[in-house]
Amino acid sequence: MSVAMPGPKAEILARRGEIAKALSRIVPGEGVITDPDGMRPFETDGLTAYRQMPMIVVLPETVEQVQRVLRYCYDNEIRVVPRGSGTSLSGGALPLADGVLLVMSRFNKVLEVDFENRAAVVQPGVTNLAITRAVEHRGFYYAPDPSSQIACSIGGNVAENSGGVHCLKYGLTTNNVLGLEMVLITGEIIRLGGKHLDSEGYDFLGLMTGSEGLLGVVTEVTVRILRSPETARALLLGFPTNEDAGRCVGDIIGAGIIPGGMEMMDSLAIQAAEDFVHAGYPLDVEALLIVELDGPGEEVHELIERVEAIARDNNAANIRVSQSEEERANFWAGRKAAFPAVGRISPDYYCMDGTIPRKALPKVLHRMKEMETEFDLRVANVFHAGDGNLHPLILYDANDSDQLERAEAFGSAILKLCVEVGGVLTGEHGVGVEKRDLMGEMFNEADLAQQERVKCAFDARQLLNPGKVFPELHQCAELSRMHVHKGQLPFPDIPRF
């Protein structure tokens, strides 16, 4: 796979030794890596099709070091790519040949847990799951749960506005972050929010979340923690057709029920998952739905019955209700292992991430079946059915360059289809480099220009993570020009008072 990245600046590369020395003065000891073997683990993130060795890797330990590194890079016009745990599936942390890779993994402390205010203050390198681990002894948890939660960092979650199974009911990262401390490329510290809600002033917290490392480097995060639901139970529902399953999803929501999670898998994904974890999934169905209901015991009990009835009305062929915590975990085991399971039946797979309006699901699945023939590749589908977030997994063999090209073309075709039916290019993985050149499918030039101007407000020199998100890099000077249309007042056709 290839994508054009900003060309390396020869004058920066020529100064590599001097830059490394200067950075070593800021971050002493093991904090600066320049040898190829040491840098190798950082050349790619979760999207391994793209690889690039950085110029220098820096692992700061203190906020002050982050400030000084960024300020030095700003003064010397050196590009910087921030990186958390490197689990991005869109190439968000893909290094630049003339760039400093700023790795935040040493920021791994939980700074404060405040149960009375239902908040935790953590450093950005703390893993998503570690937040829950730090609060679960008191019956609390952190709700957003991306599949990579054991490894992915909260700083990365903020950069990507990560989602997960629970988002339908509990929101994405952006709805669960209360505050941030970040450092701008100029080295200035900005603190946003805290344990209180809704500061007046522009919503920079909202802009930062999902900004993919282009606006600032997060050095501290305050998140909302929730009391774990009293109980959670799951239903495993098998359907003869995708249409039946899709309609069942719509009917559950239509009945006023918002499940804690609602996941769907198609026959190929069911087969792969069952072969891998033996969760007892039915193999004679076209679609499988896992619906988890959580909350007070009384409520869950009642809703299980309601959902069961809705499933029957939609021709569910198989209905199982978890009778124990162990069985509930078992229902989920196959879904949680779906990606590696598919990895066992294909040398490689390409994971997509579009979102569509729920009602378009049958149409989109039908079109995907047709595309399998067109591109001569198979696709397995797992998705967050409740919010229409699809994860088609395109199976291919990377050693066959023709297959690789077809997989990429197939992926693009799926995302264009998502936009066509009223959806979007990415639901939770981010644009990064992977979908950068598809942004024009969803946004016109004026739309993109506004987003780039946000970037200019934070980073006018465009040194932070350039080459991601935006298909073209416009200079901020060019973006700030006013195109004045000499207007004519008075508007004869606008009513006035």
Binding site: G201, R358, G388, V424
Partner: protein, 401 residues
Amino acid sequence: MAETLRPDNDQSVLDVVRWAAAEQVPLEILGHGSKRGIGRPVQAEYTLNLAALSGVTLYEPDELVFSAKAGTPLAEIEKLLADANQELAFEPMDYGPIFGLEPGTGTLGGVLAANLAGPRRIKAGAARDHILGLSAVSGRGEAFKAGGRVVKNVTGYDLSKGLAGSWGTLAVVTDLTFKVLPRPERIATVLVLGLSDDMACAAMAEAMGSSHEVSGAAHLPKGMARSCGLSVESSVTALRLEGFPSSVSYRSEALNGMMRDRGAVETLDVPQSENFWRAIRDCLPFGGRSGPLWRVSVAPRAGAALMARLVNEPLSYFFDWAGGRVWIEVASGAEDAAEGTIRRAIRAVGGGHATLIRGSAALRTGISPFEPQPAPLAALSRRLKENFDPQGILNPGRMGS
């Protein structure tokens, strides 16, 4: 007297803003004007009134989504949703009564511009958490769109959130798409009587930290409950439960048990509950009066500590958001409406912010209605404003500190 322009279509809005940008003519952006008294008074030769840009353009109950023009009355949308047993889960407050206006005014554009929320903020978020997408015209006179119509969307920056709470100073929003949620089938309120502020904040923290899914937590000091329709003299701590009927009864029972050791406990049923939370939502204890009114946001547990520091000031107050939102009405004679005292007290209890919601034009010009920002953040805000509205034609000065 400013001249008012009332466009009724997107193209006319674009024409007006383009002209204003070209001629550097400041515009005051309005819907119904129900929140016009918030922020610095805007000096503008022209008013751009969006009330005629009205109408719901899409509503799909099964998809939990609707779109409407910015000037659509919120009351119209609330009715449409209620007819399908749905609602805006963030419970947007109505600022009208604070300013002595009839309840029920306000537009959808204003909901986002002021980032409205109600008591359910602590569970369901604010307008910012429910906006999915929008169309707008920047201060440069460029029409653009942001976001989409689906909940899970990380395609580009979340500009819709960036415009939440921007008070019309970055762009003129013409269309908005929000997510909606099913209306709870049932509501009940557990009241604990006679608690001190500190005990109340502790009780609310315990309730919010329980698994009973409390969707509203407010505390009214002694003598204030009557203004919310309760015939009680003592202080009242109120905890709201919503959801399916059996679940509400079950949780209400559990919460009653949990609170019994703290004070006398009563339960409010449906109509009384609804009226009570509407009163809290719209700040009715201080409605239709004229004293300067501050809206404070601190960490929930810091609410009582904040008021303990202000015990010698001539003021009245009550708490929402489990103690984190404090409405403070200052006696009319207080110098600068006690701005310095209140802001210092907030810093002393761990930080937060205060916004002057009601005050004379002179007061709002003389002090800073919004929380002053540290220099780097103020500079960043300025740069964002310059990028979207380089001529400063949209609501000039309104958010000025």
